[in-house]
């Protein structure tokens, strides 16, 4: 897989970059086959998604106009849910938190992943390289819930190992999970700890497919060290960076497991995220209509941000 050299998404145009089949014998049978064949291949995925994703989305949008507590029958309330939700201070704060979270966490995640990937891909004994790759990917095989469980102990203000380590270098005990800023920091750190391995892997793939000859040419032109990275690596890596950042942002916008297990959204609303509010509206306040309304708003935001990224990508991403 060479992510660095292929178009990351279908841009809809048959720009002929990758030649498609032209069957040698365009017989009538062949042409008929040609027409329904793609659909045969696509059927499981398309039908499955239609039933289990698209249909529920439509249902969810419809549900947003009703009040429903799952026990009694739904009642139609028009736009009331949307009005209430948009004015609800908890919902607003949660969305704000989510945006801030995404900015900080994704920046950290991508920065770390990129930096470490570059370091790992440069000259290293093979066994060390394998070790580092495995180590950095490791947190991904753990469940977010498990991770949050033991991270809670590590960040305990009185008895956690993190504060103990800080105390060795003279830093007083940080109130990690008991203050708003501390909690937000923990959620971000735990999330990045768990997820950077994925971006790291994508970057490794991207870096691996940059041909050595390009570096040779660059070094002949005098680009070494960080100049090499700035002028050669980063531009060539930009398609991968786009994929990595789109995925990272889409994921971060939907963060739920870590704040839910670590802090339940507290203290106050400091670590309450958009998806948490959806969950709480539905399953704790039994307001399934409002939950759907919030969900619709969040999905629209995610789509808008992703579309914006692709817009921007036209300026910053270089394809070969």
């Amino acid at each position: 897989m060479s992510t660095a050299t292929s178009t990351p998404t279908g841009t809809g145009s048959e720009s002929g970059r990758k030649p498609t089949h032209k069957y040698a014998q365009p017989s009538k049978r062949g042409r008929m086959q040609q027409r329904w064949l793609p659909w045969a291949f696509l059927a499981p995925t398309i039908v499955g998604m239609g039933i289990f994703t698209l249909l529920p989305i439509v249902a969810s949008i419809a549900l947003a106009f009703f009040r429903w507590d799952i026990i009694s029958a739904p009642t139609f309330v028009g736009f009331d849910n949307f009005a209430e939700v948009v004015q609800d201070p908890t919902v607003r704060v949660s969305f704000l938190n989510t945006i801030v979270f995404v900015i900080v966490a994704v920046a950290l995640q991508l920065g770390l992943a990129l930096g470490l990937a570059i370091m790992v891909q440069e000259k290293l004994p093979a066994w060390l390289r394998v070790f580092f790759r495995s180590a950095f990917f490791f947190p991904l095989i753990l469940s977010a819930a498990s991770v949050s469980i033991f991270m809670r102990y590590l960040f305990n203000e009185q008895f956690g190992v993190v504060n103990w380590l800080l105390s060795i270098v003279g830093i007083p005990a940080v109130p990690w999970l008991t203050t708003p800023t501390g909690s937000a920091a923990v959620v971000i750190l735990v999330y990045v700890w768990q997820n950077f391995g994925f971006s790291f892997l994508l970057f490794i793939g991207g870096l691996a497919s940059i041909p050595v000859e390009t570096y040779e040419a660059a070094s002949i032109d005098g680009a070494t060290g960080w100049r090499k990275h700035w002028f050669v690596t980063l531009p060539l890596l930009s398609p991968t960076t786009l994929v990595a950042s789109v995925m990272a942002i889409i994921n971060a916008l939907q963060v739920f497991d870590q704040p839910y297990v670590l802090t339940r959204g507290g203290p106050g609303d400091s670590t309450r995220t958009a998806v948490m509010v959806i969950f709480e509206s539905a399953f704790q306040r039994l307001e399934f209509g409002q939950a759907s309304a919030i969900g619709v708003i969040l999905t629209l935001i995610i789509m808008a941000i992703t579309a914006a990224q692709f817009r921007l990508s036209k300026r910053f991403v270089f394809y070969q």
Partner: protein, 472 residues
């Protein structure tokens, strides 16, 4: 690719793939019963389904009760479903999911947190059954304190029979206390005495020791302090009715005059000066390093910390005893005392019992189960170890606490007798959002200055108003 080699490779590849495919199909076919849940016993038959919160081990423990029940009622088939949840909120979410799935249980073990939600929307009142079987039930009510029963009254009807309960008493670590040169605090120690105790403990114990460890929860967080100060974060009123029960079963009880048709929490009370006072006291403890800044919920680290003498005191109920015992503590290492007194010594408790669902097809059978599980025989089977406090006074006895301590186990049930105004945690039908509104603001309230406390309490008042806005 040479001729024969290629064909051979092709052949082995294809047979390997076919074998793999066959294997996958085979596994799927073989595990079909598991995949469709057809191997779950009692599925789809019309046995009485009982939902409890707990693990598979808890369900097995209930099996003995089922066997005993079968002896009395061989015609009623029963199956117990253990639903695992971190706290009661999650448990009720699961129950609601089952209702939504069209497979609701017939009987649910409900705690105070969900009592009014169930009473309002899901449960069937026990009144007619109690009236019918009054003679049989008299013995039960004589053995159970009326405070527990009143907690399950709602608008004049009773919806559950208390089976187990826990008040928030104060546990202390004997080692830490002795190090500070102190003796067991007296029964009516005040909140000022408590503070001095904490200060003394802090002085005498190592640096990483915490005198008062508490967590931010509905049970055992700030609420015991609010109750001791004769206030609460919701305005507490009582609904009329219930005479049929009180006159029928508790006519001679000394606290008869206090009883009603059930608690009601309709309005927020976070702007009450006494609420401010209580929070300020806790804030002072935190500021002076006598108490921790609370974690949100959980409390998992608690037993380990307490057992290693890193904590001096913490609020907890009878449910803690078994855990401490398993962590290696003996009756020389810890003990329990009443919660400190302020304006009153009103304690806060939570309790639980079985509720019959409105959707139950055979309510008579469900009642037989509820009745049977309130019998001494059934309760004895279910509570062999002190991992909670039994609702029956006669069962909270020397025998139960013999192997584990605490020495002053009498404190548990005496809490109800000595302080008959002791009440349940505030849990209206909107309990989930009320609890969230409370917990959200507690941490901010106790970890800053007075200004921050005021702001946190107004925020709490506002959040509570929103939570209680929609009356069921």
């Amino acid at each position: 690719m040479s001729g024969t080699n290629g064909a051979l490779r092709e052949f082995t590849r294809r047979s390997a793939l076919t074998a793999l495919g066959a294997g996958i199909v085979g596994v799927t076919a073989a595990s079909w019963p598991r995949l469709t849940g057809a191997d779950i016993p009692g599925r789809g038959d019309n046995s009485l389904s009982i939902a409890i919160m707990g693990t598979a081990a808890d369900a097995e423990a209930r099996q003995k009760v089922i066997d005993a029940f079968a002896k009395v009622h061989p015609e009623i088939k029963v199956k117990v479903q253990a639903i695992q949840a971190v706290d009661w909120k999650d448990f009720f979410t699961k129950i609601l999911t089952m209702v939504a799935a069209g497979t609701p249980p017939d009987v649910v073990y409900v705690a105070t947190e969900g009592a009014q939600l169930f009473a309002e929307k899901l449960a069937h009142p026990l009144d007619e059954y109690l009236r019918r079987d009054a003679d049989h039930m008299r013995e039960y009510f004589e053995d159970v304190h009326p405070s527990l029963v009143e907690a399950f009254m709602y608008k004049g009807s009773l919806f559950q029979l208390p089976i187990d309960w826990n008040a928030a008493n104060m546990y202390y670590n004997t080692t830490a206390l002795t190090k500070a040169g102190l003796e067991r605090p007296s029964d009516n120690w005040t909140h000022t005495d408590f503070r001095s105790t904490l200060a003394a403990m802090k002085k005498a114990n190592p640096k990483d020791f915490t005198p008062y460890y508490w967590t931010n929860r509905l049970f055992g967080g700030v609420v015991p302090w609010l109750y001791a100060n004769d206030t609460s974060f919701l305005k507490e009123t009582k609904s009329p009715g219930g005479e049929w029960l009180w006159d029928g079963f508790y006519a001679n009880d000394p606290s008869r005059s206090l009883r009603s048709g059930g608690y009601q929490w309709l309005e927020p009370n976070a702007d009450d000066p006494r609420v401010f006072e209580s929070f300020d006291y806790l804030r002072g403890l935190v500021k002076d390093g006598l108490g921790v800044r609370p974690e949100e919920g959980g409390g998992n680290s608690l037993i380990g910390l307490f057992a290693s003498n890193r904590i001096g005191t913490t609020p907890a109920g009878g449910y803690w005893v078994q855990g401490l015992h398993e962590a290696g503590m003996t009756e020389n290492d810890f003990d329990v005392q009443f919660f400190p007194k302020w304006r009153t010594q009103r304690h806060q408790f939570g309790t639980a019992g079985y509720a019959i669902m409105k959707t139950a097809k055979d309510k008579d059978a469900a009642w037989e189960w509820v009745k049977f599980s309130s019998s001494r025989e059934a309760m004895q089977i279910v509570f062999p170890t002190p991992n909670t406090t039994p609702a029956r006074r006669s069962m909270a006895n020397q025998q139960l606490y013999a192997g584990t301590g605490p020495r002053n186990w009498k404190v548990f049930y005496d809490t109800l007798d000595r302080f008959p105004t002791t009440g349940p945690i505030p849990a209206p039908p909107q309990q989930a959002s009320v609890e969230t509104a409370l917990m959200k603001n507690v941490s901010l309230a106790v970890s800053g200055d007075e200004r921050q406390l005021k702001d946190a309490l107004s925020s709490m008042q506002r959040d509570l108003e929103l939570a209680l806005r929609r009356q069921p």
